[in-house]
């Protein structure tokens, strides 16, 4: 896996990419809370809320197909839970959409509401992550009060995930090319566990080397970034737009649609 495969769009340049990571993070939190506190039976208003993350994705130049693919990848657990709702809530309800009227059960309404909220909040999360390099996000999180230890841990973790995943993929390919059939589960378990064990031993050794290298460069346990976070006028503008968007939805659109 290539480094930064999953957040490859975070390193582009656009007005949204240049915003302060704190503004984006807080906007995401507020937006998610606003979406989650919507009543559970209103499906159509979710389309209005989707405008926000969509606009960020569009301005940031992130393909919508990438975002939707990401959402599909992580959806199985919630999809199963949402689809089990119609089985348990069979109260009849009628839904209207334009000229059509449907007779469906409340369970289905709830299922659609859960899935809709899932898609909208995930779009917002993807909009944040794919417009903000992870290191900038970490600096922002640290400024917002995350413990330093956790920030360093997250930074190192992010740095080495892709390195180790690469190593494992080499090992998996080696195993696949030597093991041409199923060897029975005892043997399989033994092979898998010695693979995991050897990665563990290797990563502990690597950690020692990295530690020596870091000490050699004067690492003293502090996380430093060249990105000095400062609130520019564009950041305030973005915050104002987000506020206006949420307030308009809350006070003008919501009373009409709900």
């Amino acid at each position: 896996m290539h480094h930064a495969y999953l957040d490859k769009f975070a390193y582009q340049d656009s007005p949204v990419h240049r915003l302060d990571s704190r503004v984006k993070f807080i906007s995401l939190v507020v937006f998610t809370i606003a979406v989650l506190s919507l009543p559970r039976t209103s499906v159509s208003i979710l389309a209005c809320y989707a405008i926000g993350p969509f606009a960020v994705l569009a301005v940031g130049g992130i393909p919508l197909r990438f975002a939707l693919k990401q959402i599909m990848l992580v959806s199985p657990f919630i999809a199963v839970l949402a689809l089990s709702c119609p089985l348990y809530d069979k109260t009849a309800a009628s839904a209207y959409f334009g000229p059509c009227a449907f007779e469906i059960s409340q369970g289905w309404l709830r299922c659609f509401a859960i899935l809709g909220k899932f898609v909208v909040t995930m779009l917002a999360l993807i909009a944040l992550v794919s417009t903000t390099p992870f290191s900038d996000l970490l600096v922002g999180l640290q400024k917002l009060g995350t413990p330093k230890l956790l920030v360093i841990q997250l930074g190192l973790l992010y740095r080495y995930i892709f390195v180790l995943i690469d190593k494992v993929q080499h090992m998996l390919r080696a195993r696949a090319s030597r093991k041409l059939r199923n060897l029975g589960y005892r043997q399989e378990l033994r092979i898998a566990s010695s693979m995991v064990g050897s990665i563990l031993v290797r990563s502990i050794d690597t950690a020692e080397n990295i530690n020596i290298a870091m000490q050699g460069r004067g690492f003293d346990g502090k996380w430093r970034s060249l990105n000095k976070l400062q609130m520019h006028s564009t950041d305030w503008l973005f915050a104002a737009i987000v506020c206006c968007f949420l307030l308009i939805l809350e006070f003008f659109i919501k009373p009409i649609l709900i």
């Binding site: 559970r40 569009a58 109260t91 995930i161 000490q215 659109i253």
Partner: protein, 342 residues
């Protein structure tokens, strides 16, 4: 078992986030005393190791086509000690949320509690109580297996409880709980087997790692282990009794609301007695008394058909049109910029 935002209500999400943040803050503060800068690289890489180890899958017995893999919290707790394991596992859950979009942002609190804090401390506590004193091979295997199964089960049972308190799902708690426990029993056994096998491998290759001589390990004293286990027992018992008392509460609540709405009648679409019985059971145990057909506009029979349908239609179409407009504008802006730079 990553929770998504939509399974939680805002108060539950905020509460669990608060608990997780507080616990992490305390752990970080406590761990700072032990951690010198040379442990940081080790922790970071062991976190990445867990990601990598999750990719090594193996064939399950008796179930062709399915494969199991390691989850890693207990292995990490055994290698690093519970405090550091909790920090590393939390960072893994956060990265899974932020980079892999696995689990929602507001559900992060729940996910950290279920998958990082509980497995690390509980797993370590169980492993330690069994292997206390001299480490024999059998004790090591038995302790590792049991620690994995119990800690994964504990995390898994918390998911339905948190979802139930939020009241988003209509799935009965019992069904959800049984499903989660059943599925995660399997996950726990696989986790236990592979953890034990890895421990066995390590004991042959690098016995210093297993026998607590690895630098950077923070040990819990015997007293601390007992206190942790005791606290977990109390919390579990308290949580279960809360859930148990939640049933009659919900029932009362739903009855209490009915006098306000004299015209409220449960709508039963099917007259089959079995379905009626199920529906009645359902209306009793639905965790959200405030939720009914009366509140919703989408399914509001009282409102004239035309207006309700057309407002929602207008909302959706208007949103889609706005999105198209924004998309076009963004595209134009980008094009202009390219011309400028050329």
């Amino acid at each position: 078992m990553h929770m998504a935002n939509e399974l939680l209500s805002v108060p539950v999400a905020a509460g669990t986030l608060g608990i997780a943040a507080g616990a992490l803050g305390i752990i970080c503060k406590k761990a700072k005393e032990y951690i010198t800068s040379d442990k940081l690289a080790l922790m970071g890489i062991l976190g990445a190791f867990i990601f990598a180890a999750q990719m090594v899958n193996f064939q399950l017995p008796g179930m062709p086509g399915t494969s199991g893999h390691l989850v890693g919290a207990v292995l990490l707790a055994i290698i690093l000690g519970p405090h550091l394991a909790a920090i590393v596992m939390s960072s893994i859950v956060i990265v899974q949320c932020l980079i892999f979009q696995d689990g929602g942002l507001l559900a992060l609190g729940c996910n950290i509690i279920n998958m990082a804090l509980v497995p690390s401390y509980l797993g370590y506590g169980i492993y330690k109580t069994i292997t206390i004193g001299k480490i024999s091979r059998r004790r090591l295997y038995f302790g590792g297996l049991l620690a994995c199964i119990i800690s994964i089960e504990a995390g898994a049972t918390l998911v339905p409880i948190q979802a139930f308190i939020s009241g988003v799902l209509v799935v009965p708690l019992k069904t959800f709980l049984l499903t989660m426990v059943g599925v995660h029993l399997l996950v726990g056994i696989i986790e236990g087997l592979i953890t034990v096998a890895v421990l066995g491998y390590l004991q042959q290759v690098r016995p210093d790692i297993v026998s607590e001589k690895l630098s950077g390990k923070v040990r819990l004293s015997k007293k601390a282990v007992l206190i942790t286990l005791g606290a977990f027992t109390i919390i579990t018992a308290g949580g279960l009794s809360l859930v148990a008392s939640g049933f009659p509460d919900g029932l009362e609540w739903s009855y209490a609301q009915r006098p306000d709405q004299p015209d409220f009648k449960p709508v039963i679409s099917n007259e089959d007695p079995r379905i009626t019985a199920v529906d009645e059971f359902q209306s009793k145990y639905t965790p959200m008394p405030d939720y009914s057909g009366r509140d919703s506009k989408m399914g509001k029979p009282a409102k004239p058909v035309g207006t309700a349908g057309w407002t929602s239609f207008a909302g959706v179409v208007g949103s889609i049109l706005t999105m198209c407009l924004i998309w076009l504008l963004a595209k134009l802006l980008r094009k202009n910029k390219k011309i400028h730079t050329q």
